[in-house]
């Protein structure tokens, strides 16, 4: 079925299409329960400046310098949260940046709070930054509180036509078409959209 990833990827594509004219940058992140181990807060947060920098002609001097300094430290610890937030701040201050985060509820709760607080800091200091988040409704209050209540919300309720066209395309991809007849097909196209509308 359609997941929030589809919505997020659509938004990312739209923002990327217009990024060149608007001279904006776009960075995204898709949380996934199945990948919680690899998706550390440092890796996640660091991937945001990474995406912005990879779209730039040159690595910003402050980041190149931070890297040089880091290299000099033998047995240096990994990047600290404050270092990453500072580098994200450096990149978003060079270009207005859209940040899209999918399935935030799939991020480990204690990382989620750190992440939201860090993003709030970025939003306060760089007013050109805009943040798009999807998630289940139970994190709605937390998102509002941690982001200084500067949050508009939108419930994802796809129109019936969307559901039907999605079902049609999936039925077209059926690998066992012999098991399908026109009666079953029309039942599917009628009943599933009804059930979803009642949710």
């Amino acid at each position: 079925m359609l997941t929030s990833c589809d919505i997020s990827s659509l938004v990312v594509d739209r923002l990327c299409d217009r990024a060149k004219d608007r001279k904006t940058a776009v960075a995204c992140f898709y949380f996934d329960f199945a990948a919680q181990k690899e998706q550390s807060w440092a890796g996640m947060l660091g991937s945001l400046p990474k995406q912005v920098v990879s779209g730039m002609g040159e690595v910003p001097g402050e980041i190149a310098q931070a890297y040089e300094d880091h290299k000099k430290v033998i047995d240096g610890r990994g990047l600290q949260l404050a270092d990453i937030v500072r580098m994200l701040q450096t990149t978003v201050s060079e270009k207005p940046t859209f940040i899209c985060i999918d399935a935030l509820d799939e991020c480990i709760a204690r990382y989620r709070i750190k992440l939201l607080d860090s993003l709030n800091q970025i939003l306060r200091r760089s007013p050109g930054t805009r943040l798009f988040i999807t998630g289940r409704p139970h994190i709605r209050a937390e998102v509002g509180n941690r982001l200084s209540r500067r949050v508009a919300t939108l419930r994802i309720t796809p129109p019936r036509d969307d559901i039907i066209s999605y079902l049609r395309s999936r039925l077209d991809e059926d690998t066992t078409p012999d098991a399908m007849d026109s009666g079953l097909k029309s039942d599917i196209l009628r009943k599933i959209p009804d059930d979803i509308s009642e949710m």
């Binding site: 659509l10 943040l131 409704p137 500067r150 939108l154 949710m199």
Partner: protein, 81 residues
Amino acid sequence: MNTINNFTFANDRSDILAWLSPLNPKLRHQDIRDGRVGNVGEWLLQTEEFRGWEAGSAGSESDNPVLFCYGDPGVGKTFVW
């Protein structure tokens, strides 16, 4: 000396990117985009909420820089329906 430094920086570009994060969310984005069906979800881009968020009005007191989209509580991966 500066020239040498700049030369080093240019060569270090991919090292710097890897140092910032080992993760590559843009690759994941491409996978998701490739699996997306037709124009499903386009309606969201037409909503007042999305348009207002995208256009923004930085500096205005009432501007919300964040848009939070939520689906129904479901089971498994974040299904919106």
